[in-house]
Symmetry: C2
Subunit: 135 residues, 2 copies
DNA sequence: ATACCTGCAAACGATTTGCAAGGGG
DNA sequence: CCCCTTGCAAATCGTTTGCAGGTAT
């Protein structure tokens, strides 16, 4: 019953890590796959998914669920919240809302490990450009 | 360009609504399907999904995404946050965290429609009963 | 009557997994 | 060398959708 086996450092893992970390934004697995392919054109989708999982387990990458249920990956280190635009679907970092109170939860016997706060609304670009929302 | 067509009140819609509203908890579509089947054994999965969508659009039901990406349906009226146990996967209502500040977002030109806050941790039951987490 | 709805089953998109070959440590 | 890791493709899983017949209004 070994608790964790040694992590091998493969070229694929490196490519996936770089793909997540590059640029801003929060790529989906599919986007990570395409970015990683630019670095290594033989890497497969399955390997990207497997390595993303590893990075998440190691805490090197965070996962956020967009409102549509798709995973987005986030290499930011600093804790922060997110804003999801319900018009264009973009997902952006926003500063962490003020520290939230967990004492009620703890008094119930719950142990809080983290939280996920996503604001929902319309982003500045959509408000500026799109007036054709409800047609 | 009609904005909304007349909503028909079918036996199926009624069954789905009752299935979501009954009991506590936040049923998944699959659970709603099973509950609805007890009321009407011919109702189909597709119809359940379609009617859940309608209830959500009407604002009679809310959707929450569990951390695993699966939709859960919530007939509560009062706004509240959620707690997802990463051990047993349960999803429970918790009181709304104190009002959060949206002024920064608004100063960026974002229009905030809502938010979704999910605490992640270990629920009281799991803490009490399970010591076999990391084995 | 006429749209909207339903049941069924096939289609879908995201993610996972089994397998045999490949490659880090 | 051993066994973790890969590429490939098929399998899952939740959810959506096309179609032909059914049913509220």
């Amino acid at each position: 019953m070994k608790l964790r086996q040694t992590q091998r450092h493969t070229r694929q893992l490196q490519a996936v890590w770089e793909a997540v970390a590059e640029g801003a934004g929060h790529p989906t697995a599919e986007e990570v796959f395409h970015r990683a392919r630019q670095r290594m054109r033989t890497i497969s989708r399955g390997t990207v998914y497997r390595n993303l999982q590893k990075l998440v387990q190691q805490g090197r990458v965070f996962v956020i669920r967009a409102p549509d249920g798709v995973q987005h990956f986030d290499a930011s280190v600093e804790p922060h919240d997110h804003f999801a635009c319900c018009t264009c679907g973009c997902l952006v970092d926003v500063p962490l809302a003020r520290e939230l109170d967990t004492s009620t939860l703890e008094s119930w016997g719950y142990s809080v490990v983290g939280r996920q706060l996503t604001w929902i609304g319309i982003c500045a670009d959509c408000r500026a450009g799109d007036r054709r929302a409800a047609s």
